[in-house]
Each structure stands twice: as C-alpha cells, then as structure tokens.
C-alpha cells in the first residue's frame, strides 16, 4: 500500500482546505516539521479518522471521546452557530488499484458546546486500466475494502507515536499481550488457531457420533481420548505459565543482584556468596550428570539383583556345552546325513533295521528330547558376557552413588554457608541491602518451587503423550472388534488427523516465526544502535510467550537495564522485523508513519535511523519537532539517496495551522 495524498478541510488545527502529497519514489521520506502544538498529531489523527473512522488514538489514554473535537474550532467560531463541515480525503494505491476515501463530519457550536456527528463517507476505486467504479457509500463495505489493503488489527504497529512505541519492550503482562496479539495478527497465527480449534470441536462431535453407534466399550475409550486431549492442553498451558513465572523470578533475582552489587558495605560478603554459588552450580551440574549415567545403567543394575540365578543358569549351560549337548545343530545335520546316505562317517554301512541304524535313531531322539537348540548357546554367550561385566557395573554404580552422597553432603554444607552469608548481609548491611537480600531469598525459594513444578509437569506431559498413543491403538482395536460403521469412523479419524496436522503446523510455524523475527530484529538492531549499544546488546529474542527480551554481550537478559532511547530503537527493530518476516521480503509494503520518532534518541541513533529506515520500507512519513530536526540531522537526510518531500506546519495568528511545502533547497533556512 502507498499513501499518495491527504487533504484536510476544517479538521483539527487545519482551517480551510489544505493538503500533503507524500513522496512515493523509492527510497523516500516525507518530513512534516513543526513545533509542539502545530498539529503533527492532528495529521496522524486525520489519517486514522480517514482510513478507519477512529476518533481516538492509542495515546489519548484517559481522555473522554466526547471531549475530542475533530472539527476546527476557529471555523466553528466564525460560523456563528451555523454547521461546519470537516473532511479528510486520503488517496492511496494497492495491488494496482487507486482508492480515494473521503470521510466527513458535521459540527455546530451552541452555548459553548460543540456537537459533532458523522456526515457521510465515500470510497472511489479506480482499477489498473484507469476505469473508475461508482462511489461506495456504505461505511461497512468501505471498512471491508480498506481492511483488505490495510488490516486495522495491525495499524498501531505502523502508524505510531514514536515516544509511546517503547512500551512494546516493557515486561508487564498487558504489553506481552499487545506484542503477542501483534505477532498473531500480522502473521495470521489467529487463523491457524481458529482452524485448529475448529478441528478439535469437530473431532469431539464425530467421536460422539461414533460413540452413539456402539453398544460396547467404544464410548468409554472415546471419552478417555477426549479427557486425555484436554489434559494435554491443560498441561501445556500450565507449563507455559510456570515457565513464565520462572523467567520472571529469575529476572527479578538478577535485578536484585545488580542492586546488591552496588552496595559497598556488603561487597566482601557478596563475593563469598558468588563464590559459594559458583561451587553450588558446579556440584549441581555434576550431580545431574551422575543421575543421567545412573539412569543409563539402571537396566544393568537391575540385572545384578539376579546375579545368583544368572550364575546358576550359566553353569548348567556350561556343563551341557562341555558334555557336547549344545550346540545340537551340527549333530542333527550329521545324523540326517548318516540316515540319508546309510553310511557312517567311518565309512561303514548303516542300513535300515540294523542295530547301528536303531542306535543312530535313538541318538537323534535323545538330542531332540534335550530341548536345547542353538538358542541355548546364545544364552550361554550372553550370560558369559553379562557375568564378566557385572562386577564392573556394580563397582561403577557403587562409585557414582558414593560420589553422589559425598556431593550431597557438600551441597548441604554450601547451602548452610549461603544461609549464614545471607544472614550476615541482613545483620551487617544497611536497610536497603537487607530489603533487597530478603526479596532475593524469596525469589530463590520461588525459583526452586517453579523448577520442581516444571519437572513434574514435564513428566506428566510425557505420560499423557504415551497414554494418547495407547488410547489411539485401543480405539482402533475396539472399533474393529465392535464393527462400528466404517464411514463415520473414517470421518472421525480424518478430523483427528487434520487436528494433529494443524497442531503440529501451529507449533512449528510459531517456533519458526519467533526465531526468524528475533534473528531479523537483531540484525536490524546492529544497524541502528550506536557503537556502545552494539557492544553491550547482542540480540533480541522473542520468548515463548511472545514477549521481547534483549540479551547482553554475554547472551544474558538485559532488558531491565536499557535506556528509553534503546527501548525505542528495539521496538522499532521488532516492528520492522515483524513486517519483513510477514511479507517474506526485505522491504515491507506498509507505510511507516511515525509521530516524533527522534525525541529520545542520540544523534548517532538518529543518523542510523535516517539512513536505514528508507531502505526497508515502502514509504516513510515522519513528523518531527524543531528539536528533533536540526541542521545536523538535515545534513544526514541530504546525503542519503532518498527522494524527500518537506512540509512545514506554520502557526497562524488565529491559532490555526497552515501547511507549506518547502522546496528542498530552502529547508535549511526553514528550520533555522
């Protein structure tokens, strides 16, 4: 989508008819320059009103909608009680078609009260061949047309107030929801979620229908399948919640550690504590490795319980082997050969009916009756190996268990020492340190609790998954046994298979997208940050709950410590990456309309932004104040290869604003 023009008539500060023609040639930038109060946000409001009929902006926060007047108050004063018509006309193009939308308001001022009401809307579409269709006047139909070229659900991500954008990087749950919603909207994840859920509903409904056709166990099995699916879903939510709580507690602990590090009085004690914690981590890791080794040896360990029985069977087989009773295969083959050829290996004749022949037959019967075939030899071989390695296994397990026990004691000592150190901090330090330390202890307790919960939930997830497989097999068996109508069963199976497919696609798609957005945002961040930021911040990560995290050069979470300017840059990186990933292209096709983007940024950040943003978006429209655009920034604009349109918002004597288009060669003079 490309914005070509906006025409305002008696809208907010803009009296009479005024217009802005946007730069469209790639790469481009349209700068709207004005001091505070000149109507930059009014233009932003006009865009939102014209396109989406929005009367409120995200930054209006607590302002009552009826207190937001869109019609120019000076025009109302001059009309002496007569109605004034305000309008916003926007010309844009998308997919080869040109759209002109005009939205009007009628207002009247009586007894110092302004009453505004909608006064019609129209949309004219001209196709790629230049044919103009009859205007559309139905607001709902117009909304649908505009929604197709610019989804209203994602508008806040591309038309935004630069100073408010940094909110995307805040860690509170409302912001997490905002970020998650943005990602889901832009990447169509919502559609995937609905499709998946619909298959879940259908699977239940078809299973119920199958169940009603059965008199036997099938309804019970189907109910168990449904219960299992619900338990899996519940478990997945619970794991996500516990993971989030764990992350938050770890982040909180990190913050408290930073605060405690700042307090000189407890530095020595803290150093000791850090040392102890290092030892604690090393031992815990060694213990985990040991548990994993013991897990691998568990089957061998269990076999040692049968050591005596194994030795007995081995000695029996060994004796039989020594007595030549095993292996029997060779002997049987030899006997067969003697009988078939009627000749012994010594060369003498063994005819049927002779005592020799009878002796051979009785030998064969004896071997058959022993019941020992070649498998006995295999058992003998296996037992032989097992008996050899058994002492080593027992020794290994004993050693690991002794080490485990000894490290457990060491861990207890370390825990005791840590407790003591913590008490020392509480006793010896000033009030703030004591408070931080107590909060830290409580965080540690929570972390332990969440880790335990997570281990339990993960084990439960594994159990549920294997139960799911078992139930599926059971269902197939029962259906076959009960001979339930096959077409209905096939439909239920198809719904179930489609649900599983959509579920897998959903999981892998969201994982791919989070990774791709994180990687792309990190790449952009390195273009936009200043030298110091590039060193201290390594990458942006989109977490499981879609919240944003920024990792420092050690790849540890650092979001809590970054400046407001850096937050703004990171939010911008995120939005840009999101749009690029959604489009699958390096340049995203939605105009980036930014109100006061540079307020909190250093010159180096501004410089990077001016050079980089036009390269990645179709259109950049930026509204800047006199403090954001000085000669220094203008020099950067001029050295870039952008096609630039420059507008200045001038204040009029009556308090209204006049838009003037400034030729590029006169901009330096205009901003001085």
């Amino acid at each position: 989508m490309i914005l070509h023009k906006i025409v305002l008539e008696n809208f907010r500060q803009f009296k009479g008819k005024q217009e802005i023609v946007f730069a469209t040639e790639l790469p481009n930038i349209t700068i709207i320059y004005g001091e505070n109060g000149r109507g930059k946000t009014g233009l932003f409001r006009a865009l939102m009103f014209g396109l989406f009929d929005d009367r409120r902006l995200p930054q209006d926060d607590d302002i009552n909608t009826k207190d937001i007047n869109l019609v120019n108050t000076q025009a109302l004063e001059e009309s002496e009680g007569l109605p004034v018509i305000a309008s916003v006309t926007i010309v844009l193009s998308a997919n080869g078609e040109k759209y002109e939308v005009e939205r009007k308001l009628k207002a009247v001022k009586r007894n110092n009260q302004i009453a505004e009401q909608p006064y019609g809307v129209s949309l004219t579409i001209t196709d790629a061949q230049g044919n103009t269709k009859p205007p559309i006047n139905d607001p709902v139909e117009i909304g649908e047309y505009i929604g197709k070229v610019f989804d209203p659900k994602i508008k806040d991500y591309f038309l935004f107030d630069g100073e408010k954008i940094e909110r995307l990087t805040r860690a509170d749950s409302a912001q997490k929801r905002t970020v998650a919603q943005g990602i889901k909207n832009l990447l169509n994840i919502n559609d995937l979620e609905i499709a998946r859920r619909s298959m879940e509903i259908m699977r239940t409904s078809l299973n119920n229908q199958v169940g009603t056709r059965s008199q036997g166990n099938l309804p019970k099995v189907l109910r168990a399948i449904e219960d299992n699916a619900m338990a899996i879903e519940r478990n997945s939510h619970e794991r996500a919640t516990v993971r989030e709580n764990l992350d938050n507690a770890q982040l909180q602990k990190k913050k408290l550690d930073i605060e405690l590090d700042k307090i000189d009085a407890i530095k020595t004690v803290l150093e000791k504590r850090h040392e102890c914690m290092g030892q604690e981590t090393d031992i815990q890791e060694a213990q985990e490795r040991r548990i994993s080794v013991l897990g691998e040896k568990i089957s061998l360990t269990a076999q040692t319980l049968l050591k005596k029985q194994f030795q007995y069977v081995y000695s029996v087989l060994d004796n039989k082997k020594d007595a030549g009773e095993i292996p029997v295969q060779d002997k049987l083959e030899l006997i067969k050969k003697i009988i078939d050829e009627n000749r012994c290996i010594c060369g003498s004749c063994v005819k049927k009916g002779t005592p020799e022949y009878e002796a051979i037959l009785s030998w064969r019967a004896k071997i058959d009756a022993s019941g020992l075939s070649d498998e006995a030899l295999n058992v003998w071989r296996d037992l032989s190996t097992l008996i050899q390695i058994m002492p080593n296994t027992i020794e290994d397990v004993r050693r690991h268990l002794t080490d485990y026990e000894s490290d457990k004691k060491k861990l207890n000592e370390i825990h005791e020492k840590l407790k003591q150190l913590s008490e020392n901090i509480n006793e010896g330090a000033e009030e703030s340190a004591r408070k931080f330390n107590q909060l830290r202890e409580s965080c540690l307790e929570d972390i332990g609790k969440y880790k335990n919960n997570l281990t339990g939930l993960e084990a439960e997830a594994q159990r549920l998954s294997s139960e799911k497989d078992d139930l599926q097999k059971k269902k197939e068996r029962v259906i076959q046994e009960e001979g339930v109508k096959s077409e209905l069963v096939a439909a239920a199976n198809l719904a179930s298979d489609t649900f599983n497919a959509l579920d897998e696609i959903y999981q892998s798609f969201t994982e791919d997208m989070k990774k791709q957005i994180g990687d792309q945002a990190s790449k952009i961040m390195h273009h936009l940050l200043d030298k110091e930021g590039r060193y201290s911040l390594k990458r942006i990560v989109v977490k499981d709950d879609y919240s944003l995290q920024v990792n420092d050069h050690r790849d540890e979470p650092f979001l809590a410590n970054i400046s407001a300017g850096q937050r703004q840059i990171i939010s911008l990186c995120f939005i840009t990456a999101l749009a690029q990933v959604a489009n699958g292209t390096d340049r995203f096709e939605i105009p980036l309309f930014m109100d006061t983007p540079f307020g909190r940024l250093s010159f180096e950040h501004r410089n990077n932004l001016i050079r980089f943003v036009p390269q990645i978006c179709q259109q950049w429209i930026t509204m800047v104040t006199d403090t954001e655009l000085t000669e220094k920034e203008w020099d950067v604009y001029q050295t870039s290869t952008c096609k630039c349109m420059f507008y200045k918002l001038n204040s009029h004597k009556d308090g209204t604003t006049e838009i003037s288009c400034i030729p590029i060669e006169n901009v330096t003079q205009a901003i001085m």
Partner: protein, 56 residues
C-alpha cells in the same frame, strides 16, 4: 501475508492429500468464521471425503 501462505503450504505438503484439503479449507475460512461455525461448515466436507476414502 505472503510468507504465511508459502510457509503453511510447505508444511501442509508433508500430510496426506485428504488432510491437506481439509486443513487448507479450515485456514482459508478461519478469517470469516469462528471455530464452532467453521467446525459445522467443514463437517459435511470431512464426511464426504471420508466416504470417498472408504469406497476406494
């Protein structure tokens, strides 16, 4: 969004044709309908596809 369609299409190709058809239809209609209505709408399609599969 172009990337969504391409990627989902890539992933769908790993499943049997009947599953692909139903899943594609569900995703396409998800923008206009809620999950319950979508399930009702697609049940006829699922049953007819299953019937054809059984008769094969």
């Amino acid at each position: 969004m172009p990337n969504f369609n391409t990627r989902i299409e890539e992933k769908l190709r790993n499943y049997p044709t009947s599953v692909q058809d139903i899943a594609r239809r569900a995703i396409e209609s998800a923008r206009k309908l809620d999950a319950a209505k979508l399930a009702t709408m697609l049940e006829v399609k699922v049953k007819s596809t299953a019937r054809k599969e059984v008769k094969k």
